[in-house]
Subunit: 472 residues, 3 copies
Amino acid sequence: MAKKLELHPDRLFPTLESTRAIARRLYEQVVNLPIVSPHGHTDPRWFAYNENFSNPTDLLIKPDHYIFRMLYSQGISLEALGLKSTIDGNRGEPDPRKVWSIFADHYHLFRGTPSRLWLDYVFQYVFAMEVTLSTETGELYYDTINEKLKLAAFKPRALFEKFNIEVLATTESPLDDLAHHQVIKNSDWKGRVITAFRPDPVVDPEFEGFVGNLIELGRITGEEINNFSSYLHALNRRREFFKRHGATSTDHGHPTAFTADLSDREKEKLFQLALSGKIDAQSAEIFRGQMLTEMAAMSIDDGLIMQIHPGSFRNHNSQIFEKFGRDKGADLPIATEYIHNLRPLLSKFGNNSHLNIILFTLDETNYSRELAPLAGHYPCLKLGPAWWFHDSPEGMRRFRQQTTETAGFYNTVGFNDDTRAFLSIPARHDLARRMDCGFLAELIADHRIDEDEACELAIDLSYHLVKAAYKL
Amino acid sequence: MAKKLELHPDRLFPTLESTRAIARRLYEQVVNLPIVSPHGHTDPRWFAYNENFSNPTDLLIKPDHYIFRMLYSQGISLEALGLKSTIDGNRGEPDPRKVWSIFADHYHLFRGTPSRLWLDYVFQYVFAMEVTLSTETGELYYDTINEKLKLAAFKPRALFEKFNIEVLATTESPLDDLAHHQVIKNSDWKGRVITAFRPDPVVDPEFEGFVGNLIELGRITGEEINNFSSYLHALNRRREFFKRHGATSTDHGHPTAFTADLSDREKEKLFQLALSGKIDAQSAEIFRGQMLTEMAAMSIDDGLIMQIHPGSFRNHNSQIFEKFGRDKGADLPIATEYIHNLRPLLSKFGNNSHLNIILFTLDETNYSRELAPLAGHYPCLKLGPAWWFHDSPEGMRRFRQQTTETAGFYNTVGFNDDTRAFLSIPARHDLARRMDCGFLAELIADHRIDEDEACELAIDLSYHLVKAAYKL
Amino acid sequence: MAKKLELHPDRLFPTLESTRAIARRLYEQVVNLPIVSPHGHTDPRWFAYNENFSNPTDLLIKPDHYIFRMLYSQGISLEALGLKSTIDGNRGEPDPRKVWSIFADHYHLFRGTPSRLWLDYVFQYVFAMEVTLSTETGELYYDTINEKLKLAAFKPRALFEKFNIEVLATTESPLDDLAHHQVIKNSDWKGRVITAFRPDPVVDPEFEGFVGNLIELGRITGEEINNFSSYLHALNRRREFFKRHGATSTDHGHPTAFTADLSDREKEKLFQLALSGKIDAQSAEIFRGQMLTEMAAMSIDDGLIMQIHPGSFRNHNSQIFEKFGRDKGADLPIATEYIHNLRPLLSKFGNNSHLNIILFTLDETNYSRELAPLAGHYPCLKLGPAWWFHDSPEGMRRFRQQTTETAGFYNTVGFNDDTRAFLSIPARHDLARRMDCGFLAELIADHRIDEDEACELAIDLSYHLVKAAYKL
């Protein structure tokens, strides 16, 4: 017999009843606050054209590398999950229902993972499923969700409103024309969907097609990019364009946190090398590092918040990359260093009151060793929340336990969902709020803070800090 | 007055009664499951000839570097503990009773360590001691244990059966003739004791006597080892020989996780260098890295599971090494890197469904940063349990807390005791089962998983996963 | 209305009542033990001349980089906090009352930090404040504290006695004449204030004014320092001088834990290079490393305990350093390595029973990976307590959780307050005792140790271990 699906109202709270009761009280203060999502990867087309999502598999499985990564790790091929190979002509399993059934058969693999918590939330609160997903209930799930997705109430804008999203940021390349954002802006829909400026394709000489990207950047900005100065000028213009489409932030996905502060002559020389397409790995790293410093200078001028996301080894599985392309679950964390690497930038701009940088890490060893001490000193620095692999109950707990004592709460910036999985956004914010309320409840329970302070903090962590940090 | 020795039935379970009750229920499901011990260092002679152990000191202290390391760290000389110096003619304290009395006098040093938990388990459950060990009771302990060791019920095979061991793997050099395993096999005893293939002496050019080892390898395989191809051939033959003696796995104790994928010409050149005995440290590291890739290729062919144990700085204390030799408690962990280091091997074989690699670490920073993300993606990779210094309550808790959310439970392989201390095997497995049940109970208590799932998981973690992962 | 200030008697204890009751019983055994403070940075002048402290701001805010660092990170200038710039003539806010009011306005920033816990302790127990600090109560606080500071009962020696300090170590440069310590010694006051030997200014070629410092060292020791041998001789004499003023320890604040063991010729060459003032960064690092080994040799001779505090990147914020000088909250931790780095020293002296080294870290990844295994083996090594950024409830908990299982309790040395903030000393020791009692209570609650053992341990961790380790 199918098992009942029934998320417990106290889930993720501390288990001691007296502490749990505190957590519950704090949570009541924040559960209905609007969602502010300053960083993510949803598709602006959804909100521009408001078309129904196609089917459960295309919506919930194929774009979510958290899900297919786990299935792949246990021996299920990506083709069987419907992913298309760009190289061997394999089109992937064409029947979404078959893919769903594989997922249902292997749902136990997600036990203990945040994916399981997010999915059950979506199943219960978005799709009103009443039994848990399993081999037995896979077909029922597919049919029920598939039917609902055809309804008006399940169109992107309706869900956006139902989710109580106050603002949602997507992330675009400087080469993007932001046409979908323009459509949203021109529509009579009131939902606030903004962009964020992600310059990797035009500041990382090792990005696929970098030289062509610069040519395109020149074309769309009307700037002849032939030296470092015209290059910066074009970037500045593009930032301005993004700001007009609502952007309040930039985002930098560098392999390391390395920054540089070169002389004008060195910068020009390095730029010409990059432009020639013949730059080596070491020079490319220096170029990227210099560009972080340049972007900091621009942020001081135009006020965009700067997010730095270092430490991911992209496309580690070369065979998967060659067959299926980017973002297939094979981006892996590497040890990351901030103290030496950020120093050139910080020596130049670290005390500038107009600069705002939000630092992220995939290397948790930096929470207490480097990041909290940095954010606890430099006025330009704040800490982004637990990110990616650490965007989970234990990951969030470690983040608070290892950053709070040195950086306090007010050098952090609330939660980011950072997701492509639109439907999981409320689930993720709910999880973050529960964990923060639980953490605060523990501090109250052992008398480190008082409940009135914690109540203020719970609201700040859920709502005010993110709005302030991202100028939203 | 001597204090009563009485291990609490709820030891190591969560302290909140409601959660503890859950842990207890889960533990009841696994407490009597057979022990599967796929990786360890017990002596096959014990089971081949089934002779009585000599005395408490020779059995419990001298071979256990967990114990004499702690005593040494507090200023007690290894000689006083009965260890023999190979260099200065010091034969070590000859009277085992005197050594035991030093141990008894210093038993408080082990408070808070897993050694204390294992020892008390052995004292209570194996030797039925009723008071705790102390200066006062040292002699009683020595006499009681010494007497029992003379009984038939305390012979190795009897204990093996009493301990409910389903299968026990030892670890041998490729140069071992496996004669003791052959004796076990030829005997009418039904206990399953198998070997594992540990090729370090013949794949690490920096191993003591490497060149001589290759000559010996050639001799026993009847292969003239004069080029890389004949070398691989000899290794293949030896793996085949180990398989015939029950081996289902290989084990690789490299200083780092470095792997290489060289051209045939480079491999040959490097091999000749190694064979000449004049290889430098850097080339030796490349050679070892290439050999991991070669061993992976062989594993794909012959199906042996590949265990990689990197990150130990062996024989750090040079004076102790010179006086007393290997394995004297001075093997120390070093920071270990997996993402870049494993990439050559993974780029070649990472998606091969016939490959099975189990990764271990002494550097816990890798649990969440590198190992869980690797195992949560690559189908050939699984995570070995918390190892060596981390084979302890807090160590196991960190392992689960830091790997589960990304890798899930099903990319792990149950428990390894990895011990020379035969009598501690049930104690170690019991500790691991208790910690897993406690961890699962916490997940149930804050409503992350349901009890029926946790019950399945508890049994999987104690029994099924290890059998599947090691093909036992 | 102002909120009542009332520290809970059970603060920081485990939240489960049954475990908390155990913690309470253990704490009762240690709460009134004298304070032994073997390492810190209080000013010996206070105890030599016993003058009243000037005002709340000069006593509690300006010397405490924990406090102004947090305020600075949130955009408050150091000038506004009364700190003087040495470069731009800015004298800093002259009115201590104004500075105090900024502090009061921003007291919420310290929520969740140990500073908050220490400060509230000082406010309640030293100054008998009855309401919490806030914008509203800032003036009341200033006035009350200001008045009390004029009383005899708030003079340094009176507070020292009130705090039940058995011995307090300060830290001085070898160039210090220890005149203030001499005054204390010559006085009829019974308080024990001793010095510690901190040779960084004369062993680190990159220390400001190193060459001049050597000349001064020669002058005060009457030694002509022109070669390595006369240099060592001068250092030896200075250590002797410090011993006569009560020193039982030396302290070494190196950027890394690197040690060296060079030939006499290499040492001489390196020393001449250092003496010339033209040494490069790499050679300076080797020189420092060699000096750790030399200092170990001297410790073997004169019995001074050697403290090694590696891993701080000093004065990271170059603009702040140029304007305000050292110790302005911009010393940041860096990843630290011990296993390879300490080996030269340990290979030479690691088994010498006359050597005592206490190791500290700002890089917590070393607790379980490197430091506990080192201290759990080498007889000369013990672990200093959680240091600086980790001198906090969560930091101390991680220290015990990650070191105890391998090193045990008896390879640790109790607590260091390491503070310039004299008034916070009882608060810090109280916090450490509470955390240790809580940790022990958890071990009892899940039956890892017995309460009689824990009781002994609580007293050892609070009192006996530090006295033994520092020979006090």
